[in-house]
């Protein structure tokens, strides 16, 4: 699909090249107008979809981080803490990083929907979004997988029989982290599409 702007330019160029007929036929102009209305609607819908994914990522990863951090040991208590296990530290910190990043991206997405332009310069924004989505999605999945394996190995051991609440809390945190990863992966698909669109068409939307 070509952008309507470019289609119109092409038609005019070719018209000029082929014998100096300066008035283009009215059909392309109507088409262009029709296309631009349709593409604006599609663009708006895509932007809103991205915002929804970002917001879902923010909610899940923030909840996961809070659940994990709230296992911190009270002074004098003997119950285990998330800082005692490297895999749980990885889960908590990865979720916190993703939550911060998603907060920024929700802001950037709202900015784009209301203002029509990207928050950073377009080329920077599309690459920034895609690279971070991709890397953070892998990071979050890796953290959650390691966390799952640790949680499985803790089951049935003293840690979990003595302080069951700690194990349940970290299980919930890991599950929430997987949900966050799901939405971050979906965001990565859409932002990947925007990058490809930008490379191919010079614009973040192909519509």
């Amino acid at each position: 699909m070509r952008s309507p702007q470019r289609q119109q330019n092409q038609t005019q160029e070719t018209v000029l090249r082929n014998g100096g007929i300066e008035t283009p036929s009215p059909r392309p102009r109507i088409q262009a107008h029709f296309h631009s209305t349709v593409s604006e609607q599609k663009l708006r819908r895509l932007n809103i979809l991205i915002l929804v994914f970002r917001f879902a990522t923010l909610c899940f990863s923030l909840a996961a981080a809070i659940f994990m951090f709230s296992t911190t040991r009270a002074r004098g208590s003997k119950s285990p803490s998330w800082t005692d296990f490297e895999a749980l530290r990885f889960v908590g910190i990865a979720n916190a990083i993703v939550a911060l990043y998603s907060l920024f991206e929700v802001g950037a997405s709202v900015w784009e929907i209301t203002g029509g332009t990207t928050f950073l310069p377009e080329v920077l924004q599309v690459w920034f979004d895609f690279a971070h989505d991709q890397v953070f999605a892998y990071m979050l999945l890796s953290a959650d997988s390691a966390g799952t394996e640790l949680a499985r190995s803790l089951k049935g051991k003293d840690t979990c029989t003595e302080s069951n609440a700690f194990c349940i809390q970290s299980d919930i945190s890991i599950a929430l982290g997987f949900a966050g990863f799901l939405f971050l992966g979906l965001s990565a698909l859409l932002s990947g599409f925007r990058v490809a669109s930008y490379i191919i068409n010079g614009s973040r939307f192909h519509l």
Copy 2:
């Protein structure tokens, strides 16, 4: 960027629309020829890059699977086996699946470079490649992260002090799996670009 074929067609169409001048000016034809030579070179280079990534994935994941499967317990021996630990089963089987898939993809890639067409119908091939690359990359990373956590927890325990060879072998297998994941992730980027290209231009290459 438009495909040269389409560009030429457009020029001819517009020429016919604007007053029946049937001979297009020679400039677009030269441009089209120039574009097509450049794009064929680029297409070839991209195809070869994909083949290299596929082949690297195949080598690493096959090696990882073999390393993992070779820890199988001999009859009567007391040394541990990969089947004793769920995380190591996950690593071994994920690597075997990725190796099989990569073997198919190396074949498809060679087919495409030599024949110029995709092995499956184009729309099916681009979506098949991308979906599998994406899902298998996540699967392999998840397996390797879980395997790493297990290997860490085994360190210093009886399993590793009594049969050190088993621990070293599974460590190597996990490391090889991470290398396989790296190349699979790179393949996923390229095949994602092909899908986006296909959606936008109706052809798997934007060149």
